[in-house]
């Protein structure tokens, strides 16, 4: 039974299609109503996913159905993460889009993109995955360039688009290779076929995996496929950046875990070192580049690259440590909320003060206390400072890397690199905090957008609450983590 993805598809799809129609039907502009519709649809979806979980109708782990979609906990976890981010994005947009044109299309595209992400996570067929991938990507190209009069936005969108187009072509290419090797596009069948692959076909399988890594890695922001990311994150409207950083990126991980990791396991490849190297490169470059940034969005974009590296650790050590993938999934969930909250906070700053430059957010702690608090806490959570949620997932990731040390020599080094990076990241997060709180003492308070406040409060509760008492989420993650019991 694959009810959940279909319900989401239905609910969000209908809302997504209706919104532009509504826009045409109603001549007067009433932005909040569109947002309300979008939010309603998203809440229904989240509620449904949650209800499925609570009522225990979801199968644990990642399952492989003969259908194109599976209703499993793995997808459910991603769905929740992504839908939360979509809610953030929509909520954050309410104030952001107040004076912009075409709000209906805007929200509709967010919804469509959300469908795409969710379905990527639920897909058990390569074709479905590809199509969902595109549904996720194409609206975000538009959204990134939605500020038509802003050259930055357009530049960001163009760069994003070119990368996106190239990587989707590469994904198709990869799918074609896999398909050629196995004669099927259903992931479970693919994996079964790959386990019995003829040795002479191995180079092609590797080529396919490489293509997948590149194709998905672009979305995840893995080095060296990351180069579009800072530019786009900086240029795109901040609520959309939130969506990109916190949600579409996670779709990349969902796809990678479903296909690449499973496929690699099926091929009995020694792929962990390669992923480990990419992970270290990714986090190091991300964190180092972030240090001297002057633009808040850009700094967080680099931090986002760094976090992709952390998540990749879990993938790299997945065969050696059960905690690896758990940590990855956990960090996916946490990072979604943390980064989402951070970017929404920035969007609030942009709405209220129209600045993102670090020197201009001096005294933000006094000007916009709640936003600043939310940003601070999410930065601390990103840095992995306990007792915030980010700490626990990093803990699991580092632990997994260490644990793998008994199988692979580089496991502890991975952990050390990650730990040092994590410490390094605190330097630039601290820099932001410094600007917000310790400079500009004479700043006066300004009005903060209510929607942003709502997001801040939710994410604060999430980050602190689940940081103090992480057990439910850990159990949830454990349930959602795929095992290497191949079909």
């Amino acid at each position: 039974m694959n009810a959940t993805p279909l319900v989401i598809l239905g609910v969000l799809g209908v809302a997504g299609v209706i919104l532009p129609v509504l826009d045409v039907a109603r001549r007067e502009r009433f932005t909040q109503a569109y947002a309300a519709v979008a939010l309603g649809a998203l809440f229904i979806s989240i509620g449904y996913v949650g209800y499925q979980f609570v009522s225990g109708m979801v199968q644990p782990g990642a399952i492989f159905s003969t259908d194109v979609l599976a209703d499993d906990a793995f997808g459910g976890l991603f769905a929740i993460a992504m839908l939360i981010v979509a809610v953030f994005s929509v909520t954050g947009s309410i104030s952001y889009m107040r004076d912009q044109k075409y709000p209906a299309v805007y929200y509709s595209l967010i919804l469509l993109s959300a469908i795409g992400m969710v379905l990527v996570a639920y897909s058990t067929d390569l074709v479905m995955l590809f199509v969902a991938w595109e549904l996720m990507s194409i609206p975000t190209y538009v959204l990134a360039g939605f500020m038509k009069r802003n050259p930055i936005s357009n530049e960001a969108a163009l760069k994003y688009f070119l990368f996106g187009a190239m990587s989707s072509a590469i994904i198709v290419y990869g799918i074609s290779m896999v398909y050629g090797l196995t004669g099927t596009t259903n992931i479970s069948e693919v994996i079964v076929a790959l386990t019995t692959l003829d040795a002479s076909m191995m180079p092609l399988a590797i080529l396919a995996i490489g293509l997948f890594v590149a194709g998905f890695g672009f979305k995840m922001g893995l080095v060296p496929f990351h180069m579009w990311l800072p530019d786009t994150y900086e240029g795109a409207p901040q609520p959309i950046t939130a969506l990109l950083a916190a949600a579409t990126k996670k779709a990349g991980f969902a796809a990678t875990i479903r296909i690449v990791v499973m496929g690699m396991a099926a091929l009995h490849l020694d792929w962990t070192l390669a992923l480990g190297i990419i992970a270290v490169m990714t986090m190091t470059i991300g964190n180092v580049a972030a240090i001297m940034q002057k633009n808040l969005s850009r700094m967080l974009a680099y931090s986002s690259i760094g976090h992709a590296g952390y998540i990749l650790i879990g993938l790299a050590v997945a065969p050696h440590s059960a905690a690896g993938l758990q940590g990855s999934l956990y960090h996916v969930l946490n990072h979604a909320v943390m980064k989402g909250a951070a970017f929404i906070a920035i969007s609030g700053v942009v709405v209220a003060l129209a600045v993102t430059h670090l020197d201009k957010i001096r005294g933000l702690g006094r000007r916009m206390p709640i936003t600043a608090l939310g940003l601070t806490v999410s930065l601390l959570a990103l840095a992995g400072v306990p007792p915030l949620n980010g700490f626990w997932s990093k803990l699991m990731l580092f632990g997994a890397a260490l644990e793998s040390g008994s199988f692979v020599w580089w496991g502890p080094w991975l952990a050390i690199a990650a730990v040092l990076n994590s410490a390094l990241s605190l330097a630039y997060y601290g820099w932001i905090m410094r600007k917000m709180y310790f400079e500009g003492e004479d700043a006066k308070r300004v009005k903060e957008p209510k929607s942003v406040i709502a997001v801040m409060i939710f994410s604060l509760l999430f980050m602190v609450g689940l940081g103090v008492y992480p057990d439910p989420v850990i159990q949830f993650v454990e349930m959602a983590t795929p095992t290497f019991l191949l079909p």
Partner: protein, 99 residues
């Protein structure tokens, strides 16, 4: 005709596409390159579909063509917007975001 011949052609197209993306400065030409890559993939898909005797490849090729159309539409729209702003489509000049 062996399968490998089609695959080689496809790889050649893929390489040309990547080359185009990495070298060309005109946004529209870059779109050409994207199309070439997608076509390479499609060629691959259909060829494999023929040789493994399964319809899935062709199905995906059809999806891929449709999606390419959608992508191109969006891409062209972006190029048009860019052109309106800069009166230029030389993407190498679009570098206010960097560092």
């Amino acid at each position: 005709m062996a399968l490998i011949e089609f695959v080689l052609v496809s790889v050649a197209l893929l390489g040309i596409g990547i080359y185009g993306l990495a070298v060309k400065r005109n946004a529209i030409r870059m779109l050409f390159a994207v199309e070439i890559i997608i076509n390479a993939a499609n060629l691959n898909l259909v060829a494999f579909s023929r040789y493994v005797d399964d319809s899935g490849g062709q199905t995906l090729a059809l999806f891929s063509i449709a999606i390419a159309a959608a992508e191109v539409a969006v891409g062209l729209a972006l190029v048009v917007v860019a052109y309106r702003m800069y009166k230029d489509v030389d993407i190498a000049n679009f570098r206010s975001l960097r560092g």
